[in-house]
């Protein structure tokens, strides 16, 4: 897998910056299709140090956009066989996702989403409050107006995804360098080809014909080196895990009105978070991995309202991770810099906006 002293070639066909699940999945998939390509992955810290190691591990098709639902159904299909493919236990638990709506507006969103999901074949079911309680008897559903459930959704332990992809990519010849920051990125020609020079904090440098900026919420730093200004910004999300309980909770439960979600890990912990629109310390555009008492208070108030038994639980660990959010909350494939010409084109068009 990745090492801080992994040798890097002087020139590669593709340099992937960012050793999270996105970068490593791409490295693995490309190394399978094109074993002759020289590929390297450069991670500024350790594998799973970024958002890939800080999330709740949810894998769901219950989104609001049909394209996102379709992509997530593909991800779920891949996940079903990925443990065997990567030869690692991903702790994929297919307990489904249960969404609860406590307002008319949220109930309308769920009803609209069911139509979207069914249009692309996702088997999302509309449930009553009583049916939701039959799925999870410990819930307080007294104010629930509507619910949806998709049994295909589930939860994974996200770290083995990163390790599994890294291990298999490495076995196929991908160089994975950890603890190495890219401090310079600029256009350069090499052996008659357009491409990019990468300067590393170690004093090393290499040339890449293509660059994939897979650093997520940290991506504006690299984009800036090429004069690209995209409107994606980091948004801090906090999460806690509690002391363990005897297993009782199969689905991941979401309270749509508050943005609360919770699941039970294989160790029995309740893993939970809640939407914070006004993130404490989140005023600037930099990634902030702090935690806050405000989150703990909001999470506890919402969790105990939906899951009353949580009143007796103590948090054991609290951490945060960044979402990489665009104005439409959809990804940008600008991260893929085909050639300097295309990156300049993107840069000028975006910056002129």
């Amino acid at each position: 897998m990745g090492r801080r002293d992994a040798p890097l070639p002087e020139a590669v066909d593709l340099a992937i910056i960012g050793g999270g699940v996105m970068g490593l999945a791409t490295a693995y998939e490309l190394s399978k299709r094109a074993p002759e390509r020289r590929i390297c992955v450069i991670e500024g810290s350790y594998l799973v140090s970024g958002a890939s190691g800080r999330n709740g591990g949810g894998v769901r098709s219950q989104w609001g956009d049909a394209g996102n639902v379709a992509i997530m159904r593909e991800s779920l299909a891949i996940c079903r066989g990925l443990a065997q493919t990567l030869n690692i236990n991903l702790w994929f638990r297919r307990g489904g996702y249960l969404f609860l709506a406590r307002s008319d507006a949220s109930a309308a969103r769920l009803a609209r989403n069911i139509a979207v999901h069914r249009s692309v074949g996702a088997p999302t079911e509309q449930l009553t409050a009583r049916e939701a309680k039959e799925l999870v008897p410990e819930l307080d559903v007294s104010n629930v107006r509507a619910a949806t459930f998709n049994s295909e959704d589930g939860v994974v332990f996200p770290w083995p995804f990163v390790w599994g992809y890294a291990s298999e990519a490495s076995a196929r010849g991908v160089a994975i360098r950890t603890h190495t920051r890219v401090t310079g990125l600029g256009e350069a020609r090499h052996a008659g080809h357009d491409g990019y020079d990468l300067t590393l904090h170690t004093g090393e440098s290499l040339w890449a014909r293509r660059v994939l900026n897979a650093t997520g919420a940290w991506s504006p730093v690299l984009n800036e080196m090429l004069g690209i200004d995209l409107p994606n910004r980091p948004h801090r999300h906090e999460i806690i895990s509690t002391e363990p309980l005897k297993p009782f909770l199969d689905p991941l439960v979401v309270d749509l009105d508050s943005g609360l979600y919770f699941s039970q890990s294989t160790r029995g912990e309740i893993v939970t978070g809640v939407t914070m629109h006004d993130v404490p310390g989140g005023e600037d555009d930099r990634v902030n991995l702090g935690t806050s008492l405000e989150f703990l208070e909001r999470m506890a108030a919402n969790l105990t309202a939906v899951l009353p038994l949580a009143r007796a639980l103590h948090p054991v660990r609290q951490w945060s991770g960044p979402y990489d959010i665009s104005p439409t909350a959809t990804p940008s494939s600008v991260a893929l810099l085909d050639t300097p010409t295309s990156s300049r084109c993107v840069a000028s068009r975006v910056m002129d906006s």
Binding site: A25, T275, R349
Partner: protein
Amino acid sequence: MMAPAVGRLLAAYLHDGTRHPMLERWRPERFALGQSQRREDMIIG
């Protein structure tokens, strides 16, 4: 977690130029060109 599927899409593009419709939708020019796109409103947590 979209990465398993999106990793395949990106790898296919890098390998032979195959562009999945979602990669087209995610092109950053949409911000500069003012193309309207439905906001994904099911982001949780």
